[in-house]
Symmetry: C2
Subunit: 197 residues, 2 copies
């Protein structure tokens, strides 16, 4: 029965991960130290590195898990969209659900910009598992684009507007509401990808 040891190890991982999610969510990525995470879970620092190779690695795992969950809540709704406007509505319902997840949108932003400094992280962040990526939006929109404007660009412009809004938001600037940005993004997508304006 080596099973029990594995279970214990898994249990420890879960506890450390829960602690990490709580502290990252409260204080952000950089401002949360590995010592804090382990201490808060009742372990010593060294235990962290038995389970993950770096703070980055655990954070990416959390991001992957969170994105997966966001997407699940979105499932089904996508197929119902019959035109570009409806597809954009689905996308923005999705984006708003991220914004409503405490301050995780700010933390994603923080990590995204942080990741730009490392080539390895940069490559990872361009994968859709870790990112509210251009290409995912492009996919959702592709079937409904009526012009020859590239769907990837519609997706990327949408991402840009959203992430630009995250910056605006994380600085505490109050000029834009999420509704303003949603409207603008949809108007932009329609003007590029829809036959009538």
């Amino acid at each position: 029965m080596a099973k029990k040891q594995q279970e214990k190890s898994q249990q420890t991982m879960n506890e450390l991960m829960a602690s990490a999610i709580e502290l990252f969510g409260k204080n952000g990525f950089v401002q949360t130290s590995v010592s804090e995470i382990t201490e808060h879970a009742g372990y010593a620092k060294g235990s962290f590195y038995r389970h993950w190779n770096s703070k980055d690695e655990l954070f990416l795992l959390i991001v992957e898990q969170k994105l997966k969950r966001y997407r699940e809540t979105r499932n089904g709704k996508v197929d119902k969209a019959t035109n570009l406007a409806e597809a954009m509505d689905v996308i923005w319902d999705f984006l708003e659900s991220i914004i409503n997840d405490k301050n995780w949108s700010s933390i994603f932003l923080e990590f995204t910009v942080y990741s730009a400094k490392s080539e390895i992280l940069r490559k990872l962040m361009n994968k859709s598992v870790y990112r509210l990526s251009n290409e995912i939006f492009a996919e959702l929109v592709r079937d409904h684009v009526e012009t020859d404007f590239p769907p990837e660009k519609i997706g990327a412009l949408n991402t840009a507007l959203f992430e630009g809004y995250l910056i605006h938001r994380s600085l505490g600037t109050q000029v834009l509401s999420i509704k303003d940005v949603r409207q603008a993004a949809i108007a932009l997508a329609l003007s590029n990808g829809s036959k009538q304006s």
Copy 2:
């Protein structure tokens, strides 16, 4: 003649600042250490803190200086704009000049997101001296808006799209070109602030 000492002090500041600009420009804000800055200029670490209270403080000074210079190259052109489309062209010529300044746009982005974590820095970054700010764009656009859409929102949406593009860019994603974003931003501004679409 206490002048000579002041001059020497000023000289040291200039040397340290030049060293900082070079190293920040090459490696970014976080990845450039104060020791590197002083060493590269031929001083000891302590000398840095005789002139500035923190790394942040010097960086803000550099930002202020750079923004001032960008704006100077823009002066005059603003007054010539007779409608919203021309005003947007002036703004985007300005933004492109920032993008063309080596990788400083990425570094501004890095510091902007970094600053969100400190209340003091956040407040500073909302001032127009330190930021490619919403309100500056709003000002440039105000006289040419023909609808009742708030000029501040036009400015803020423009900033969001630009900074979102900076993220896209710093991740090395190649889907969007600066031209794409410029077109989108101008289309967006015109659709909100111009009578005919």
